[in-house]
Symmetry: C2
Subunit: 575 residues, 2 copies
Amino acid sequence: MVFLNKEKLLKVARKEVLADLLVKNAKIINVFTKEIEYGNLAISDGYFIGVGDYKAVEEIDLKGSYIAPGFIDGHVHIESSMLTPNNYAQAVLPRGTTSVVADCHEIANVCGENGIDFMLEASKNLPLDVYMMIPSCVPSTKFETSGAFLRAENIKKYVNNSRVLGLGEMMDYPGTINGDKEVLKKIELFSHKVIDGHAPGVYKEDLNAYCLAGVKTCHECTTPDELVEKVKRGMYIHLREGSQTKNVRDLLPGINQKYYSHILFCSDDLHPLDIGKIGHIDNNINIAIQYGIDPIEAISMATINIANCYNINDSGAISPGRKADFVVFDSLEKIEVKKVYKNGKLVVSDSEVLFSSEHLDYTGVLDTVKFNIDNVNLEYKLKSDFVNVIGLIKNNVTTLKLKRNVVLNDLIFYPKLNDDLLKLVVIERHRLTGNIGKGIVEGYGLKDGAIAMTIAHDSHNLVCIGDNDLDMLCAINKIKDIGGGIVIAKDNRVIDYLQLAVGGLMSTENLEFVSNKISNLEKIARKIGVSKDIEDPFLQLAFLSLTVIPELKLSDFGLFDVNNFRIIPLEVGDN
Amino acid sequence: MVFLNKEKLLKVARKEVLADLLVKNAKIINVFTKEIEYGNLAISDGYFIGVGDYKAVEEIDLKGSYIAPGFIDGHVHIESSMLTPNNYAQAVLPRGTTSVVADCHEIANVCGENGIDFMLEASKNLPLDVYMMIPSCVPSTKFETSGAFLRAENIKKYVNNSRVLGLGEMMDYPGTINGDKEVLKKIELFSHKVIDGHAPGVYKEDLNAYCLAGVKTCHECTTPDELVEKVKRGMYIHLREGSQTKNVRDLLPGINQKYYSHILFCSDDLHPLDIGKIGHIDNNINIAIQYGIDPIEAISMATINIANCYNINDSGAISPGRKADFVVFDSLEKIEVKKVYKNGKLVVSDSEVLFSSEHLDYTGVLDTVKFNIDNVNLEYKLKSDFVNVIGLIKNNVTTLKLKRNVVLNDLIFYPKLNDDLLKLVVIERHRLTGNIGKGIVEGYGLKDGAIAMTIAHDSHNLVCIGDNDLDMLCAINKIKDIGGGIVIAKDNRVIDYLQLAVGGLMSTENLEFVSNKISNLEKIARKIGVSKDIEDPFLQLAFLSLTVIPELKLSDFGLFDVNNFRIIPLEVGDN
């Protein structure tokens, strides 16, 4: 953290006192005028003093490199990196990210206020500014069992926290549009801050209602037209490049210089492997540049546009009085971050992270996997052989609601009797309800094995997919033993696993450990037949329980028909 | 005032309940996408519901006219209109203005907190949203006597008023740059809101310091370069078209689509005659259109840009959930407002104002002219005939510091012995100090008469200009009798006067009365010789005491050398 001592900084600005650092020979990206500025940039006490005729204690010569404001992720669930905030900071800083607007929705679904408190506390003294949006929809629907139920009265205490920028993505768009009292109460609480949206495919009069309720942003556009309709109503649109959900390329054709200021970048959910491989917000910027957007405008979408939208007044630009967060790189054609400064201090040099993680206090977020293993019954006894099946779509978290005739044996469904159909179960793991939702999935491609995990949006119950009960039970058992994580079983034994002890969502280890582990688990998953059409075997699985994305999902209550917003049986009936 | 009943509005948005009003066949200006939107626009309970397939109780067919969001004046001193807020609303609404960001700096200099309270109260229930910036510099310098002295502790109580958007123009830019503790304390108080700036000709390192202190806007740019330098540092720039101070045409060459969002329109000080003759913010828009700026971008500078800069989230655009403030006109080449709607109600039709003013409570703002007439000595006894003279510049509030040899009689200065040199006195009228500042002015052009008034920026002492003591005393006497105003005397009698009983600044009468009176007074002023180079005889006079604008001014302390920030004698010495 930096402390703003205005009297001291003004002395430096007036040249009465030496600056701490003078950045010389840099091409300074000005996100206000969208031009390159030349001159010596002074920094003191963690803040930009400005460009001018300054002297400083230390000088660095950037020999013509570019510098841009540190990148901001406009919307991210840190938990999706499977890293705790300190390790997440180590992962994203080398990509130039110096601030994130985080929605701790995942751990809040598991641990409620303890989860929010943990994320706020664990992200406090990092060389990464973690701003928080308070989860609005815990649970995300009434059709699942979550670890917590956050009403307006539970989140009220976060309203005036200076690191809290507003209310997290209002996924309950039907409730918002319909004026649900509890939804409106939450929005009212945060009405002086920002209300994030989440409204895939909401148009016309419904979109009027959604905006009228007070929602300011959306990161769920899928077409350029949808983007334009939302900007027309004043919304700010995140172009998202996550591991599973990507819409930057799809939406770029819809943007126009006239409303560039309404365009923001975000990652939403980014897998640890992808941070290393494809990067973070630098990736969004590079995609936009490659598409033909002016590089400085693209950088603005990752910096000042987000700062303006979220009322972050002290970062997002290289200008007097803002935090001296900046990245150094050599080309505007493709940004490859060489150095990163946070609060005026070098924190990353040639991908090497120059700070270490602090010890965290895990109170309230461990031991979160609670269910009675003896009650887990994986048998699928059906009334008919005409069933609803969750159909996977390549590179997409939406699914199809398929109808399939299946082969049964004594009215019992066995995957091994049915080509490319697998059992998918969601076992409630928070409240010992004994709930198990059962579904059938097409297109995942696994054979002779099972995968179980406690990342399962948004309630993060235990999800398990497999083609035989023995392997599924084996994986489920291991999950309970390790208090959450990802487990692959085959031939009734655990092949490998990643422990995610923090809420069943995050590892206590660093990026390298988690990446290696995930990498190995993915190799195993491919070996046991997970389809190449499934970009990420685990993320795909994690989204199959997300009951706010169409068409057919599975919660611990059973199959959920998202378009009709109700639980339906496995067997095709009148629905 | 309108009350936002979200549950009801959402019902209308969802088409469950009829809207109040449906605007049909309008070309709707969308300030987000900068395009024309077509469709039916629904309004209910004073708010826009949105464009869609709506039905309403009442329909209006605009037959292809344009509609734009109601215009906002980004920075104005209402007092300069000489009208109280209710009469001001009647004056500006026909020009399409539905909101103003007002700085009640003038009356605060006379009446202190009573003045601020009066302006807040008197502007409360008007069909014009009057947002307030709390005066930051009362008095504007230490080199004059004002009616009030507002320290941070005095203005603290206004910080959380929802109609208060921040701290008014920080004219003490030297104090800001130099880190004056009291200045920083005031800025700190309002740091969660907007700090308005006023920094003519402040550049480079000083500008870094000024921005670093927290100032967000400036309306005092004089060149395109100055504008660009300020935008580079993140400032928002008002292009101003007032009666005396105009910079829209000068600054337009400096603006660029890349930072249009940083460009705002304002009037600052607008004379009642000019509101009728040249208009208000519609005039700024039309000048920009004429210059070649895209009309929708020009309208944005008068609407959404200001709303965004000042965090006014519920107006500035025709979009769901914002106040239904809009103007109707027929051409984008030159905007001529036909109808104005405020909170969904027709308030102006073909220049006719459809609402009447309420009675105001003048407690605390009357009887503000206090000085002892017997102590007024207008004799100029000098030590030398080489004197400092205030030189007027055509169409400018800045003055020149001239040095002139004058003809004296027995060491006494008589204007009648010196071509085009007049006596200018500033008589303290707040605290009975008996102070009289004496100066000599070149370029005003009056003969055989005197003009006195109690509008004299910023302390609003009594200012009197004339070429003989008899007429000057006569005018000064009348000012005291009527409790403030504008008086012209000739041949030892009052020719005409305008009473400004409210703080010596504002009339209790309406626009028509005040305009006619001013018009007649101006005719008289011209008759007694006020130069045609002086665009406005009274405004010119009112700015001669403004000690924050270069070069030479006059306060009740004496001649003020603005560049050196000190009082100097009439006689040229070592200065």
